[in-house]
Subunit: 236 residues, 2 copies
């Protein structure tokens, strides 16, 4: 009898767990001893916040590498094969969504281990919901290219995609490049294309603004500097 792998969403910043995690997610995470985590330090900080039942030092924390080999995956999932429940945790948000961890989940399916996703915060989902754009049809692209020419080209391709499929298009940028991204967007896109920026989601400093590419040109975008943000775009 194998154990279950629980996919445990992490908080998106420093907020009380009850702010963004259901009691069921908290209760299950508190009870687990075996963990597969992206980075041990933030994992321990999260588990401490949750006030887990077992002393942190006695937990079995195994770190998954960015591109795990099948040998890595066998070791990571050994406790689950032996009948123990295991938690999968990344540094922020939902494992495997705009975040690593999917390879561990795929390996669990292959090994016949039951996979149970728990409810918690996802910046992608919250940004889309808050954008008021098309949530019946949307695409998430992860990071766009960094070099200015390639970025402009990618932004225009995404915009063309949005127009062709009448769908919302989401992407992310590392916080210290947010301002460069916003400048590129306001210049590259059709003036009427809608852009929503959602920064610091679930945190007290949460900021969600939606306007046309043209209107973004007239706004102070410096205030988005160095804040984790999602970009949601829809062409008209």
């Amino acid at each position: 009898m194998t154990g279950t792998i629980y996919l445990v969403p992490n908080l998106l910043g420093t907020v009380p767990p009850s702010h963004a995690l259901p009691q069921r997610t908290i209760d299950i995470a508190r009870s687990l001893i075996h963990w597969v985590v992206e980075t041990p330090k933030p994992a321990r900080a999260f588990l401490k916040t949750l006030d887990v039942a077992t002393p942190i030092a006695n937990l079995d924390l195994r770190t998954f590498p960015p591109a795990p080999t099948s040998k890595n995956l066998t070791t990571l999932l050994a406790p689950a094969r032996e009948g123990h429940d295991v938690g999968l945790l990344t540094d922020a948000g939902c494992p495997g969504i705009a975040d690593p961890g999917a390879a561990v989940v795929a390996a669990a399916h292959s090994a016949g281990i039951r996979v149970v996703p728990l409810v918690g915060p996802s910046a992608v989902l919250l940004a889309l919901m808050a954008s008021g754009m098309n949530g019946q049809s949307f695409a998430f692209h992860g990071y766009l290219p960094v070099k200015p020419d390639a970025r402009t080209q990618a932004l225009r391709a995404v915009e063309a995609d949005s127009r062709a499929h009448r769908r919302a298009e989401l992407f992310i940028e590392t916080p210290y490049r947010n301002v460069a991204m916003l400048e590129a967007i306001s210049q590259a896109l059709n003036p009427a294309t809608l852009l929503c920026v959602a920064a610091d989601l679930t945190l007290p400093s949460e900021t969600i603004e939606r306007r046309t590419a043209a209107a973004w040109r007239d706004h102070d975008i410096g205030r988005f500097a160095k804040r984790p943000a999602l970009f949601v775009m829809q062409a008209c």
Copy 2:
């Protein structure tokens, strides 16, 4: 000073609210008097489960039509313009995601009303996380066509999209057509294409299975009949 519109996720079925909603979501929903809802009956049932502070009969519930006019939207958001906080609620899951409600959010942005998305269950997000497929790049297509030929064509187009962009592709089907959809998938797709079916998410009967299109042919698919399900596909 305008109010705030809170986007309140509804439960995905009959479970205790603490199972799928953070305490913050429950506390905010309990305190609201003004609501914009998809359907009054399930809205009242949800608010009763939450044990809201105000007697249900005294709540201001306004129903949003499937395609609200700008006059409808003005009426729906009147309490927020007058300074009251308002909750937006659909019949299941997150407002605006695989669900109506986006037009209300868009109108709130236009009226300068603050939009705050609350954490809760989304079948799309949970299915993607549990699929172990590519959550760094994915697309959600809503419903595919119903007629067999058009459905097969759409499935193959989505599969080609997945192969070209190396991304996960998600879609839904009305529960009573799940079995027909699974049969179509197992016949239409490349035998090696991966398909994950996630049914009854967050409920005690939750079932999540992932295998190749070829392997689905040998499985009893009848047990997915009439259960709300998400389909996640990835071509190899």
